[in-house]
Amino acid sequence: MKAKDFCDLLKQQGFNFFTGVPCTILKDIINFLTRDNSIIYVPATREEEAIGIATGAYLGGKKPVVLMQNTGFSNSIGAITSLVLLYKIPMLFVISWRGYKGKDAPEHRIIGRCVLKLLEDIDVPAQILTEENCEKAVLTAVEVISKQQTPSAIMIRAGIINEQK
Protein backbone atom coordinates (compact mmCIF):
# COMPACT_ATOMS: atom_id res chain seq x y z
CA MET A 1 0.00 0.00 0.00
CA LYS A 2 1.15 3.53 -0.72
CA ALA A 3 1.99 5.75 2.23
CA LYS A 4 -0.36 8.38 0.81
CA ASP A 5 -3.31 5.95 0.75
CA PHE A 6 -2.65 4.89 4.32
CA CYS A 7 -2.46 8.52 5.49
CA ASP A 8 -5.62 9.39 3.53
CA LEU A 9 -7.40 6.53 5.23
CA LEU A 10 -6.43 7.88 8.65
CA LYS A 11 -7.46 11.40 7.70
CA GLN A 12 -10.83 10.12 6.43
CA GLN A 13 -11.36 8.66 9.90
CA GLY A 14 -10.88 12.11 11.38
CA PHE A 15 -7.31 11.85 12.63
CA ASN A 16 -5.85 15.34 12.40
CA PHE A 17 -2.91 15.47 14.80
CA PHE A 18 0.17 13.31 14.33
CA THR A 19 3.31 13.05 16.41
CA GLY A 20 6.08 10.53 16.79
CA VAL A 21 9.63 9.47 16.20
CA PRO A 22 10.75 8.12 12.82
CA CYS A 23 11.64 4.53 11.97
CA THR A 24 12.82 3.15 8.61
CA ILE A 25 9.53 1.27 8.21
CA LEU A 26 7.55 4.47 8.87
CA LYS A 27 9.68 6.83 6.80
CA ASP A 28 7.34 7.21 3.83
CA ILE A 29 4.33 7.77 6.08
CA ILE A 30 6.14 10.38 8.17
CA ASN A 31 7.62 12.07 5.10
CA PHE A 32 4.12 12.31 3.66
CA LEU A 33 2.64 13.70 6.88
CA THR A 34 5.44 16.24 7.23
CA ARG A 35 4.52 17.68 3.81
CA ASP A 36 0.76 17.68 4.45
CA ASN A 37 -0.48 21.13 5.44
CA SER A 38 -3.98 19.95 6.29
CA ILE A 39 -2.81 18.21 9.48
CA ILE A 40 -0.29 18.84 12.27
CA TYR A 41 2.79 16.61 12.50
CA VAL A 42 4.98 17.19 15.56
CA PRO A 43 8.41 15.53 15.53
CA ALA A 44 9.17 14.44 19.11
CA THR A 45 12.55 13.65 20.65
CA ARG A 46 11.30 10.46 22.31
CA GLU A 47 8.18 8.34 21.93
CA GLU A 48 7.15 9.02 25.51
CA GLU A 49 7.18 12.73 24.75
CA ALA A 50 5.01 12.06 21.69
CA ILE A 51 2.49 10.31 23.94
CA GLY A 52 2.34 13.38 26.19
CA ILE A 53 1.91 15.69 23.19
CA ALA A 54 -0.85 13.46 21.76
CA THR A 55 -2.63 13.50 25.13
CA GLY A 56 -2.54 17.30 25.15
CA ALA A 57 -3.82 17.35 21.58
CA TYR A 58 -6.80 15.20 22.58
CA LEU A 59 -7.51 17.49 25.53
CA GLY A 60 -7.42 20.38 23.06
CA GLY A 61 -10.03 18.75 20.82
CA LYS A 62 -7.87 16.95 18.25
CA LYS A 63 -7.89 13.30 17.21
CA PRO A 64 -4.29 12.13 17.66
CA VAL A 65 -2.02 9.44 16.22
CA VAL A 66 1.39 8.48 17.64
CA LEU A 67 3.87 6.91 15.18
CA MET A 68 6.73 4.93 16.69
CA GLN A 69 8.94 1.87 16.45
CA ASN A 70 8.21 -1.11 18.70
CA THR A 71 11.30 -0.22 20.75
CA GLY A 72 9.83 3.24 21.23
CA PHE A 73 6.57 1.71 22.32
CA SER A 74 8.41 -0.30 24.97
CA ASN A 75 10.16 2.90 26.11
CA SER A 76 6.75 4.45 26.66
CA ILE A 77 4.87 1.81 28.63
CA GLY A 78 4.96 3.92 31.81
CA ALA A 79 3.39 6.89 30.02
CA ILE A 80 0.81 4.67 28.34
CA THR A 81 -0.26 3.00 31.59
CA SER A 82 -0.14 6.05 33.90
CA LEU A 83 -1.55 8.60 31.44
CA VAL A 84 -3.25 7.25 28.31
CA LEU A 85 -4.90 4.18 29.87
CA LEU A 86 -5.46 5.82 33.27
CA TYR A 87 -7.36 8.84 31.88
CA LYS A 88 -8.83 6.82 28.99
CA ILE A 89 -7.36 9.05 26.29
CA PRO A 90 -8.45 7.85 22.84
CA MET A 91 -5.51 7.70 20.44
CA LEU A 92 -4.12 5.54 17.68
CA PHE A 93 -0.63 4.05 17.88
CA VAL A 94 0.97 3.22 14.54
CA ILE A 95 3.82 0.92 15.55
CA SER A 96 6.51 -0.37 13.21
CA TRP A 97 7.38 -3.98 13.89
CA ARG A 98 11.14 -4.42 13.72
CA GLY A 99 12.44 -7.88 14.52
CA TYR A 100 9.40 -9.64 13.06
CA LYS A 101 10.04 -13.41 13.23
CA GLY A 102 13.60 -12.70 14.32
CA LYS A 103 14.65 -11.62 10.83
CA ASP A 104 16.24 -8.29 11.59
CA ALA A 105 19.28 -6.61 13.11
CA PRO A 106 20.19 -8.06 16.52
CA GLU A 107 18.98 -5.05 18.52
CA HIS A 108 15.41 -5.65 17.32
CA ARG A 109 15.10 -9.36 17.98
CA ILE A 110 13.95 -9.43 21.60
CA ILE A 111 11.41 -6.62 21.33
CA GLY A 112 10.29 -8.02 17.97
CA ARG A 113 9.45 -11.27 19.71
CA CYS A 114 7.54 -9.81 22.66
CA VAL A 115 5.86 -6.61 21.42
CA LEU A 116 2.44 -8.20 20.83
CA LYS A 117 2.51 -9.80 24.27
CA LEU A 118 3.39 -6.47 25.89
CA LEU A 119 0.46 -4.79 24.11
CA GLU A 120 -1.84 -7.57 25.20
CA ASP A 121 -0.60 -7.43 28.81
CA ILE A 122 -1.49 -3.75 29.11
CA ASP A 123 -4.80 -4.22 27.25
CA VAL A 124 -4.04 -2.27 24.10
CA PRO A 125 -5.76 -4.08 21.21
CA ALA A 126 -3.55 -4.45 18.14
CA GLN A 127 -4.29 -4.99 14.45
CA ILE A 128 -1.55 -6.37 12.25
CA LEU A 129 -1.52 -4.64 8.90
CA THR A 130 -1.24 -6.79 5.76
CA GLU A 131 -1.46 -5.95 2.05
CA GLU A 132 -5.06 -7.14 2.00
CA ASN A 133 -6.59 -5.90 5.26
CA CYS A 134 -5.44 -2.30 5.36
CA GLU A 135 -8.81 -0.58 5.40
CA LYS A 136 -10.36 -3.16 7.70
CA ALA A 137 -7.47 -2.90 10.18
CA VAL A 138 -7.81 0.87 10.37
CA LEU A 139 -11.59 0.73 10.75
CA THR A 140 -11.35 -1.91 13.49
CA ALA A 141 -8.78 0.16 15.38
CA VAL A 142 -10.97 3.26 15.08
CA GLU A 143 -14.00 1.35 16.33
CA VAL A 144 -12.08 0.12 19.40
CA ILE A 145 -10.89 3.64 20.15
CA SER A 146 -14.34 5.20 19.99
CA LYS A 147 -16.22 2.37 21.75
CA GLN A 148 -13.77 1.69 24.57
CA GLN A 149 -12.16 5.13 24.85
CA THR A 150 -8.75 3.50 24.87
CA PRO A 151 -5.74 3.56 22.65
CA SER A 152 -5.52 1.01 19.88
CA ALA A 153 -2.52 -0.09 17.85
CA ILE A 154 -1.79 -0.86 14.21
CA MET A 155 1.36 -2.93 13.67
CA ILE A 156 3.27 -2.38 10.43
CA ARG A 157 5.95 -4.81 9.24
CA ALA A 158 8.69 -3.97 6.74
CA GLY A 159 7.52 -3.87 3.12
CA ILE A 160 3.79 -3.38 3.72
CA ILE A 161 3.80 0.36 3.12
CA ASN A 162 6.06 2.46 0.97
CA GLU A 163 6.00 5.35 -1.43
CA GLN A 164 6.17 3.36 -4.66
CA LYS A 165 3.43 0.77 -4.24
Binding site: A44, T45, I53, A57, L59, G60, G78
Partner: protein, 183 residues
Protein backbone atom coordinates in the same frame (compact mmCIF):
# COMPACT_ATOMS: atom_id res chain seq x y z
CA UNK B 1 9.00 31.77 48.62
CA UNK B 2 8.00 28.13 48.87
CA UNK B 3 6.09 25.88 46.47
CA UNK B 4 2.54 26.67 47.51
CA UNK B 5 3.25 30.42 47.73
CA UNK B 6 4.61 30.35 44.19
CA UNK B 7 1.61 28.37 42.90
CA UNK B 8 -0.73 30.85 44.59
CA UNK B 9 0.97 33.76 42.81
CA UNK B 10 0.66 31.98 39.45
CA UNK B 11 -3.02 31.17 39.94
CA UNK B 12 -3.84 34.69 41.11
CA UNK B 13 -2.13 36.18 38.05
CA UNK B 14 -4.47 34.31 35.67
CA UNK B 15 -7.81 35.33 34.25
CA UNK B 16 -10.59 32.86 33.54
CA UNK B 17 -9.55 31.65 30.09
CA UNK B 18 -6.09 30.25 30.75
CA UNK B 19 -5.57 26.49 30.95
CA UNK B 20 -3.29 24.84 33.49
CA UNK B 21 -1.34 21.58 33.43
CA UNK B 22 0.08 20.61 36.83
CA UNK B 23 2.95 18.15 37.30
CA UNK B 24 2.37 15.01 39.33
CA UNK B 25 3.05 14.87 43.05
CA UNK B 26 2.94 17.85 45.39
CA UNK B 27 2.48 20.43 42.61
CA UNK B 28 -0.86 18.93 41.52
CA UNK B 29 -1.88 18.46 45.15
CA UNK B 30 -1.09 22.06 46.03
CA UNK B 31 -2.96 23.41 43.02
CA UNK B 32 -6.03 21.31 43.82
CA UNK B 33 -5.97 22.49 47.45
CA UNK B 34 -5.34 26.16 46.62
CA UNK B 35 -7.70 26.68 43.68
CA UNK B 36 -9.42 23.67 42.21
CA UNK B 37 -11.05 24.32 38.81
CA UNK B 38 -12.07 22.39 35.70
CA UNK B 39 -9.34 24.18 33.75
CA UNK B 40 -6.68 22.40 35.84
CA UNK B 41 -5.31 19.20 34.35
CA UNK B 42 -3.79 17.28 37.27
CA UNK B 43 -1.14 14.79 36.24
CA UNK B 44 -1.29 11.81 38.58
CA UNK B 45 1.46 9.76 36.96
CA UNK B 46 3.52 10.09 33.74
CA UNK B 47 6.26 12.07 35.47
CA UNK B 48 8.12 14.34 33.10
CA UNK B 49 5.31 14.80 30.59
CA UNK B 50 3.74 18.06 31.85
CA UNK B 51 5.58 20.17 29.29
CA UNK B 52 4.58 17.78 26.49
CA UNK B 53 0.92 17.68 27.49
CA UNK B 54 1.00 21.49 27.65
CA UNK B 55 2.56 21.64 24.18
CA UNK B 56 -0.15 19.40 22.71
CA UNK B 57 -2.86 21.60 24.20
CA UNK B 58 -1.14 24.81 23.08
CA UNK B 59 -0.81 23.60 19.48
CA UNK B 60 -4.43 22.45 19.38
CA UNK B 61 -5.88 25.59 20.95
CA UNK B 62 -3.69 28.42 19.63
CA UNK B 63 -6.02 31.09 20.98
CA UNK B 64 -5.79 29.95 24.60
CA UNK B 65 -2.87 30.57 26.92
CA UNK B 66 -1.55 27.33 28.42
CA UNK B 67 0.44 27.40 31.65
CA UNK B 68 2.45 24.36 32.71
CA UNK B 69 3.23 24.16 36.44
CA UNK B 70 6.27 21.93 36.46
CA UNK B 71 9.02 20.92 38.86
CA UNK B 72 12.77 20.59 38.38
CA UNK B 73 12.69 16.80 38.81
CA UNK B 74 9.90 16.59 36.25
CA UNK B 75 11.50 18.70 33.53
CA UNK B 76 14.89 17.04 33.99
CA UNK B 77 13.19 13.78 32.96
CA UNK B 78 12.09 15.32 29.67
CA UNK B 79 14.64 17.98 28.71
CA UNK B 80 14.07 16.96 25.09
CA UNK B 81 10.64 18.58 25.31
CA UNK B 82 12.35 21.98 25.61
CA UNK B 83 13.98 21.33 22.22
CA UNK B 84 10.61 20.39 20.72
CA UNK B 85 8.86 23.42 22.22
CA UNK B 86 11.67 25.73 21.11
CA UNK B 87 11.55 24.41 17.56
CA UNK B 88 7.77 24.80 17.23
CA UNK B 89 7.67 28.01 19.29
CA UNK B 90 3.98 28.09 20.26
CA UNK B 91 3.21 31.68 21.24
CA UNK B 92 0.64 30.65 23.84
CA UNK B 93 2.74 28.40 26.09
CA UNK B 94 4.11 29.51 29.46
CA UNK B 95 6.25 26.95 31.25
CA UNK B 96 6.70 27.66 34.96
CA UNK B 97 9.33 25.45 36.60
CA UNK B 98 9.27 25.43 40.40
CA UNK B 99 12.86 24.62 41.27
CA UNK B 100 13.78 23.48 44.78
CA UNK B 101 16.73 21.47 43.48
CA UNK B 102 15.17 18.30 44.86
CA UNK B 103 12.58 15.58 44.41
CA UNK B 104 10.50 16.95 47.25
CA UNK B 105 7.52 14.64 46.68
CA UNK B 106 9.67 11.59 47.39
CA UNK B 107 11.72 12.80 50.34
CA UNK B 108 13.96 15.57 49.05
CA UNK B 109 16.61 13.70 47.08
CA UNK B 110 18.81 16.21 45.20
CA UNK B 111 18.35 16.85 41.47
CA UNK B 112 20.85 18.17 38.94
CA UNK B 113 19.16 21.59 38.73
CA UNK B 114 21.73 23.06 41.13
CA UNK B 115 24.22 22.82 38.27
CA UNK B 116 21.98 22.58 35.18
CA UNK B 117 20.61 26.01 34.34
CA UNK B 118 17.15 25.07 33.10
CA UNK B 119 16.39 28.64 31.98
CA UNK B 120 19.56 28.63 29.88
CA UNK B 121 18.62 25.29 28.32
CA UNK B 122 15.26 26.81 27.34
CA UNK B 123 16.93 29.93 25.96
CA UNK B 124 19.37 27.85 23.91
CA UNK B 125 16.42 25.76 22.65
CA UNK B 126 14.61 28.76 21.17
CA UNK B 127 12.16 29.94 23.86
CA UNK B 128 11.33 33.59 23.21
CA UNK B 129 11.23 34.56 26.90
CA UNK B 130 13.27 32.97 29.68
CA UNK B 131 13.42 34.30 33.23
CA UNK B 132 14.88 33.18 36.53
CA UNK B 133 13.20 34.58 39.63
CA UNK B 134 13.83 34.30 43.36
CA UNK B 135 11.12 36.41 44.97
CA UNK B 136 7.36 36.92 44.89
CA UNK B 137 7.41 40.49 43.55
CA UNK B 138 9.58 39.57 40.56
CA UNK B 139 7.49 36.48 39.85
CA UNK B 140 4.33 38.60 39.71
CA UNK B 141 5.97 41.07 37.33
CA UNK B 142 7.41 38.36 35.07
CA UNK B 143 4.10 36.48 34.89
CA UNK B 144 2.22 39.63 33.96
CA UNK B 145 4.70 40.24 31.17
CA UNK B 146 4.58 36.64 29.89
CA UNK B 147 0.79 36.68 29.79
CA UNK B 148 0.89 39.80 27.59
CA UNK B 149 3.79 38.83 25.31
CA UNK B 150 4.34 36.11 22.74
CA UNK B 151 5.91 32.93 24.02
CA UNK B 152 7.01 30.33 24.44
CA UNK B 153 8.18 31.48 27.88
CA UNK B 154 9.99 29.57 30.57
CA UNK B 155 9.99 31.00 34.07
CA UNK B 156 12.38 29.26 36.42
CA UNK B 157 11.24 29.96 39.98
CA UNK B 158 13.85 29.19 42.60
CA UNK B 159 11.90 28.11 45.69
CA UNK B 160 12.72 26.95 49.20
CA UNK B 161 11.96 23.45 50.25
CA UNK B 162 8.97 23.10 52.56
CA UNK B 163 7.37 20.42 54.67
CA UNK B 164 3.76 21.17 53.70
CA UNK B 165 1.90 18.27 52.12
CA UNK B 166 -1.55 18.88 50.65
CA UNK B 167 -4.03 15.98 50.40
CA UNK B 168 -4.08 13.74 47.33
CA UNK B 169 -6.14 14.85 44.33
CA UNK B 170 -9.42 13.02 44.84
CA UNK B 171 -10.91 13.21 41.35
CA UNK B 172 -11.01 10.11 39.20
CA UNK B 173 -8.65 10.49 36.23
CA UNK B 174 -11.53 10.33 33.73
CA UNK B 175 -13.29 13.08 35.67
CA UNK B 176 -10.18 15.29 35.45
CA UNK B 177 -10.15 14.68 31.69
CA UNK B 178 -13.85 15.36 31.18
CA UNK B 179 -13.96 18.58 33.22
CA UNK B 180 -10.93 19.87 31.37
CA UNK B 181 -12.11 18.87 27.93
CA UNK B 182 -15.27 20.96 27.99
CA UNK B 183 -13.40 24.07 29.04
Amino acid sequence: MNRSEAIKIVVNALGEKELLVAANGLISRDLAALKDAPRNFYMLGSMGLGSSIGLGIALSLPNRKVIVLDGDGNILMNLGSLATIGSLAPKNLIHVVLDNESHESTGGQPTASRTTKIDKVAEASGFRITEKVYDAQTLKKVLKNSLKCQGPSLILVKIERSDSVAPRVLYEPVEIRERFKIM
